[in-house]
Amino acid sequence: MEIVGKLQKQFMDFMSSLYREGFLDDQFLQLQKLQDESNPDFVVEVVSLFFEDSEKLLNNLAMALQQQVVDFKQVDAHVHQFKGSSSSIGAQRVKNACVGFRNFCEEKNLDGCMQCLQHAKHEYFLVKNKLETLFRLEQQILAAGGTVPIIS
């Protein structure tokens, strides 16, 4: 069907751009490979977990950095966590933002940390947006009776 074809192409192009622009990396591909009939919504499920967890982490980070006396160890622990989860789903830019963030934590550089937090948040919302778009496209394809193309 033409619509399906169009949607599928749109999906593939979009997906490729995400990889190309560094929003996603190979780990995301791994996740897609894990998805199978027994877990047809695996990727969506995992990404949703990521969103939920990340928002909590970002809030914790914001709070931790707003304390009178900032506990950089705690901040670092949160960042480490964020780095771990973002890398697990392949959110490459978010992960990279965390790397820099950790350096500032080690240096106990509050300004640096604040900036990194903003940067990490920004990247997070960007990739969140992209992924939501991707999932929407998937839904549209399925709704139109097509199958979601697999990119390898």
């Binding site: 780990q27 894990l34 877990n39 995992v46 977990l49 771990g84 989860s85 890398s87 697990s88």
Partner: protein, 678 residues
């Protein structure tokens, strides 16, 4: 999954066959039962899926405590554990230690952190492998090799050990071979650990025995006594494992067992000789003994030991026993079955809070006892205590009360007795935040009271002195309280005690010790029983009992503190190797049941082992006691004015400030002793 003969047959088939438990290997690795622990829900889900795709049977959990209780409930329900390093409720390495000690399963660590020092920690803590996140499925596909390898080694080890010392050479060779091809984490054979011990702060020694899976020798009090006698006969400088082995003439004991035990013993002696400055190192090394899992044990554990050490005053015998127990413990690592989780419950903070007031009282009580302790050398120096002081954080506030009590006891104990190397050791061993906190004066009282580890010691000491252990219990409770705060530590404690626990149960039942003791002693009852147990027990295997039993035993006693004490005592007992031969012989009064040392050596050794052991014991006791608070009445009796508690307290507090790093050093110390692998 049972890999019976150790051979690997790789025909995957349905996973159901794994469940039967006795089957075999031919289905391996399909159906490999994996427990994955990670607080990150995203990673956890991904790992679960990946492992399922590898046809493994996966159980996931996001909390280390839950993982531990799962593992404890299903002793043979899992083949391998994968755990994240950074978790909020418990450090992954600690979990690793616990698992290694209690269940002896291969553990794979993972983290987004790929820095060398973290990876190295994995190695030293005995991790079978270390994966960097994001984990790829390919990395997970091969984890089964660790299970097979381990089983093979264990099997071989067991078989080799049968033959006794002749096999030693073979074994060592085998071990080295194993080391070669097993993952780097297994590298800890005892040779390596020896080196490491000297060099590193962390308890990497643990690795060696734990990873190498030698059959464990339980260094019971009797056995240790024999060992000590043999060493003395030969002269400490000339005591070589081979000759010791010959003198001991114990069938089934290998030269290697003796060698590692000797190592520990030497460290203990070194420690006793008061090298306070080296204490940390010694402690670390000592503690860090290959008990493998202990290493990871949080500083809390260390604290406990320290506290115990502080409490110090464990009579030589007790110390000996403790030491034996500690040494023995390591051997019995696998035996530990005490569910940490359960133990933990005992120590809930609430309990500790409740206990504080009581604890204080107990301190007082213990003071009384202090008088009794004069025989006990107290080498505890404030700074030692300070160093012991480890995780101060928990101790603040509530803990303070308890701490002070315990510390008090410790200090009291320390003070009271003569320079007891043991006390020092204990302190040193204990990570001591607890210990450090207590003012020295307190220590004394503590000793009598029963700071958990200290309590035992105290009781032991007291016994020596007089045989009246009075409020060890109360002290114990205070100790316990501490442990409560340090939940984690306690847990570790539990671990070590685990093996002791078996001893403990007996002990509690026994009560023998101090019939003569007045009701105050009840608290100490825990001790006596502990001592008794030592006589009888030689293997600690039922860890649970330690804490659990203690609790129950305590229940019977009317002194909540007693419970604590019991817990502690148990710990001590455990440490002592649970065989309380000495009890019978020596001092009945000596709850610490450290007969081993006392027989041989009263003079000197005070219990190198005891120290750390005490700590652990203390800690456990603390844990146990968490619920019970020492009776107020104890308190009054025990705080003799003689020791300027306040002075001690302030000293401690001051010292504490300076101790910070001890924590890391001791983190494990307390535990290590307990679980010294033999």
């Amino acid at each position: 999954m049972n890999i019976g003969s150790g051979s690997l047959v790789g025909v995957p088939s349905s996973t159901s066959s794994w469940k039967s438990g006795d089957v075999v290997s031919d289905q391996f690795p399909v159906g490999l039962r994996v427990l994955v622990v990670d607080d990150d829900p995203t990673c956890l889900r991904i790992l679960e899926k990946m492992l399922r795709n590898c046809h493994y049977e996966v159980t996931k959990c996001n909390r280390a405590e839950i993982a531990l209780s799962l593992l404890r409930e299903n002793k043979n329900g899992f083949d391998i554990v994968i755990s994240d390093v950074h978790m909020p409720d418990m450090d992954g390495f600690k979990l690793l230690e616990h698992i290694g000690l209690e269940m002896d399963l291969p553990v794979i660590m993972m983290s987004a952190d790929d820095s060398k020092d973290v990876v190295m920690r994995g190695v030293t803590h005995g991790a079978y492998d270390y994966l960097i996140k994001p984990v790829r499925i390919e990395a997970l596909k091969n984890i089964w090799q660790h299970v097979v390898r381990k089983k093979k080694h264990d099997w071989k080890d067991n078989n080799f050990d049968q033959s006794g010392s002749m096999e030693e050479g073979d074994r060592q060779q085998k071990l080295s071979e194993d080391v070669d091809y097993s993952s780097s984490a297994n590298e800890g054979n005892w040779k390596n650990s020896k080196k490491r011990k000297e060099e590193e702060d962390e308890a990497d020694e643990r690795d060696d025995t734990s990873t190498l899976k030698k059959p464990r020798v339980v260094w019971s009090v009797e056995l240790h006594q024999q060992f000590v006698q043999a060493v003395h006969q030969l002269g400490i400088d000339k005591a070589v494992p081979k000759k010791i082995l010959e003198l001991m003439n114990v069938p089934g004991l290998t030269r290697e067992n003796v060698a590692s035990h000797l190592q520990k013993y030497r460290l203990y002696l070194r420690r006793l000789s008061g090298v306070s400055q080296h204490q940390n190192e010694l402690n670390n090394s000592f503690m860090g003994r290959p008990d493998a899992t202990f290493g990871a044990i949080s500083s809390l554990n260390g604290l406990d030991l320290q506290a115990i050490a502080a409490a110090g005053q464990i009579p030589a015998q007790s110390l000996a026993t403790l030491q034996a127990a500690a040494l023995g413990r390591s051997a019995t690592k696998s035996a530990i079955s005490m569910p940490l989780g359960d133990q933990r419950n005992l120590f809930s903070f609430e309990n500790s809070k409740l206990r504080f007031p009581e604890g204080q009282q107990q301190l007082n009580n213990s003071n009384k006892q202090i008088d009794l302790l004069h025989g006990i050398p107290t080498n505890m120096e404030p700074k030692q205590l300070a160093s012991l002081h480890h995780p101060s954080q928990s101790f603040v506030g509530m803990n303070m009360q308890v701490n002070s009590t315990t510390q008090h006891n410790n200090s009291l104990l320390m003070r009271m007795s003569q320079p007891q190397p043991r006390a020092q050791m204990l302190n040193g061993a204990n990570n001591g935040s607890q210990v450090s906190r207590l003012p020295l004066s307190m220590q004394q009282s503590l000793s009598s009271e029963g700071i958990p580890g200290a309590v035992l010691a105290q009781s032991g000491i007291v016994d020596n002195v007089r045989g009246t252990v009075y409020n060890p219990v109360s002290q114990a409770s205070s100790m316990v309280d501490f442990s409560v705060d340090q939940r984690q530590e306690l847990q570790s404690y539990n671990f070590s005690l685990g093996s002791n626990s078996s001893g403990m149960s007996t002990l509690t039942n026994r009560r023998m010790l101090h019939e003569e003791v007045n009701s105050d002693m009840k608290g100490s009852r825990g001790f006596p029983s502990n001592y008794d147990i030592f006589n009888e027990l030689h293997q600690p295997k039922s860890q649970n009992w330690g804490l659990q039993n203690v609790g129950s035993t305590f229940d019977s006693s009317h002194h909540p503190s007693i419970q604590g004490t019991q817990g502690v005592s148990s710990q001590l007992l455990l440490q002592q190797g649970i065989s309380s031969t000495h009890n019978s012989g020596q001092n009945r009064n000596d709850p610490s049941g450290k007969p081993m040392y006392s027989n041989g050596e009263e003079s000197g050794h005070s219990n190198p082992m005891g120290g750390p052991q005490l700590n652990s014991v203390g800690r456990n006791m603390l844990a146990v006691k968490a619920e019970r608070f020492p009776d107020a009445d104890y308190q009054s009796t025990f705080f003799p004015e003689q020791f300027g508690q306040d002075d001690l307290m302030s000293t401690f507090l001051k010292q504490q400030g300076s101790v910070g790093p001890v924590e890391t050093e001791f983190g494990f110390d307390g535990y290590t002793l307990d679980n010294l692998p033999v």
